[in-house]
């Protein structure tokens, strides 16, 4: 409409509307992200900040004191993630499948009740389970005794071999509501006609779930997997609330979040080192970025989507 010669008017309202969000987001999120990566290239010598290039990363991966801790935390983090993928998401999908069955009574009640652990803070969840599993209180052993399985009881959180799995399961208990809700929503959006068409061909019940519904909710399962991945690889709170910054026993529950916290904030007698902390944060960023890229380019783009 306007003649091409006239320079476009500055739309002030666009600037006014966008500025606050962009400013806060850039200043408090994007800028610190890059500043942290920049900090990982520096170190402090006699209270002077000094550029050292990739020296911190060399220490992190080359120096055995650091590298054993790092690989331990990364391995534990993967274990944490795998337990979530194998336990949390299947249970969530199963619950959603049951909940979405037509004419189920009290569905709303079950849904709200199962979601309750998700809204509780890690502090509550961590301590509550710590108390319940504690050998002093004896709720867990006496309950196992009631079903004749007392011999299975061990102070799980205190044993190196079990502590991480136990905490992963506690976290699964807490967050099962999220995959349940998202899959439930996806299942509800499947049109009735498709299921009816399947019924005409004799596909009902379980086989309807495996053959019709599951392929249709695969994109949602993909989203849940990447959400779980990102959440697990910057997890911290539950481990800290239940086991403290040292992620005991003997670092067996140490994950990247607790490792980074200990490193940059310091604990007990060790002083905090923001530069090594930044190096760990950068490594975490790289891991999350790789995961997100694998999802976006490897999985999501290949997934078939159905339009109804």
């Amino acid at each position: 409409m306007s003649s091409p010669q006239r320079p476009p008017r500055i739309k002030w309202h666009v600037i006014v509307f966008l500025t606050p969000a962009v400013l806060v987001y850039t200043a408090v999120m994007i800028f610190p992200l890059f500043a942290t990566m920049r900090l990982s290239l520096f170190t402090e010598v006699e209270q002077q900040r000094m550029f050292v290039g990739l020296e911190n990363f060399k220490t992190l991966f080359g120096n055995t004191v650091w590298s054993t801790q790092f690989w331990n935390a990364l391995g534990n983090n993967f274990q944490f993630f795998i337990v979530h993928m194998l336990v949390q998401n299947p249970i969530g999908i199963a619950l959603a499948a049951i909940l979405s069955s037509p004419k189920l009574r009290f569905a709303g009640f079950y849904r709200s009740a199962i979601f309750i652990p998700t809204i509780l803070s890690f502090v509550i969840v961590g301590f509550a389970w710590k108390l319940i599993l504690s050998p002093i209180w004896g709720i867990a052993p006496s309950m196992l005794d009631a079903v004749g399985l007392k011999s299975l009881y061990a102070p799980w959180l205190g044993r190196e071999a079990y502590a991480l799995t136990t905490l992963s399961l506690v976290s699964v208990w807490q967050f099962v509501g999220i995959p349940m809700m998202l899959i439930y929503a996806a299942l509800l959006s499947i049109p009735e006609e498709i299921l009816e068409a399947g019924e005409c061909d004799g596909i009902t019940g379980m086989s309807a779930f495996w053959k019709i519904k599951l392929p249709l909710i695969l994109p949602s399962i993909g989203i849940i997997s990447i959400l779980t991945f990102v959440a697990n690889f910057n997890a911290f709170d539950l481990i800290y609330a239940a086991q403290g910054a040292l992620a005991g026993p003997n670092f067996s529950t140490d994950i990247l979040g607790t490792f980074m916290y200990r490193t940059f904030f310091g604990f007990q007698l060790q002083l905090g080192d923001p530069h090594m902390g930044s190096a760990i944060a950068s490594a975490m960023f790289a891991i999350i970025l790789i995961g997100v890229c694998i999802y976006l380019f490897g999985i999501q783009s290949r997934m078939r989507r159905y339009q109804f």
């Binding site: 509307f17 969000a21 806060v24 408090v28 301590f127 910057n234 940059f264 944060a281």
Partner: protein
């Protein structure tokens, strides 16, 4: 006949599975709350029974209210959560409206830039955030937390809200323009009231993670007078590990406000999730 019976067993099995999982989900909360009302002896002797006249005791709550400044913590958490939600909604809606409504150079790029933060956790930048807060003197103030949570909540808020803003009819906005309303009035008077349900969804999504966060209060605002409820109860419980009455009461008191919020907002939250706001 056969089909009907099979149907009945199926329904029975469905309810069985759901009841079992509901019990698993609620059991720990139940145990904590009932035991917080018992004497120390009863807590250990009969952990699973309800408090009765004999075993009833409020000694744990007395300790908590005497020792910990839980009202102060509650107030801090409330201020941080409400202020963060206010800024997330205001700034987020403004940005979402701009992206959805106006054609300008860099529109798509701006949308992508703001969406980056949906997948990248803000915690990665903690070291630099702490340095920034120290140098601006905001460390150990509630403002530090409010700013961080606002930045953390904005990407998803802009994303969800702009989806909804696109659905607001153009005719309505153009009618407003013909009547001589400024763009600001169109936004605040016409568009905002129409996307209120979406704003509520965004608010509920952000509320619980902000209220429950432990990481940033621990790092940015650990001082006594700015402790949030989550951090406050964590520290309190850490100090009173051996006083089971106090620990159980503190846990129950920490559960209470979240449960209250959940009871008020659970419909909104569940509707938000199931309406596919997070795609």
């Amino acid at each position: 006949m056969n089909a009907a019976r099979q149907n009945k067993t199926q329904i029975f099995a469905a309810h069985g599975a759901l009841i079992l999982y509901t019990l698993i989900a609620l059991f720990p909360v139940f145990v904590i709350v009932i035991n917080s009302f018992k004497t120390r002896k009863a807590i250990f002797r009969e952990p699973l029974s309800l408090p009765n006249a004999d075993s009833f005791s409020l000694v744990g709550y007395e300790t908590v209210l005497k020792q910990g400044d839980f009202f102060k913590y509650f107030q801090n958490s409330m201020i941080v959560t409400v202020a963060s939600l206010f800024f997330i909604l205001l700034f987020g809606a403004m940005a979402a409206f701009t992206l959805a409504e106006y054609r300008f150079r860099g529109n798509t790029l701006m949308g992508l830039y703001l969406a980056l933060g949906i997948m990248i956790p803000i915690r990665i930048g903690t070291v630099a955030i702490l340095e920034m807060m120290v140098s601006t003197g905001l460390v150990n103030t509630l403002w530090a937390l409010i700013l961080v949570y606002t930045a953390q909540g904005l990407p998803l808020a802009v994303f969800i809200l702009s989806e909804f803003m696109r659905q607001v009819s153009d005719d309505l906005k153009n009618a407003g323009r013909i009547d001589g309303l400024s763009e600001y009035r169109i936004f605040f008077r016409l568009v905002l009231p129409l996307v209120r349900p979406a704003m509520a969804t965004v608010a509920v999504f952000n509320m619980i993670p902000i209220w429950n966060d432990l990481w940033f209060p621990l790092i940015l605002a650990p001082a006594e007078e700015v402790k949030t409820l989550t951090l406050g109860s964590q520290v309190f419980i850490g100090q009173f590990v051996t006083d089971w009455n106090a620990v159980l009461s503190a846990l129950s008191l920490a559960i209470l406000p979240v449960m209250g919020l959940y009871v008020i907002f659970s419909r909104q939250l569940i509707r938000g999730i199931t309406s596919g706001a997070v795609k």
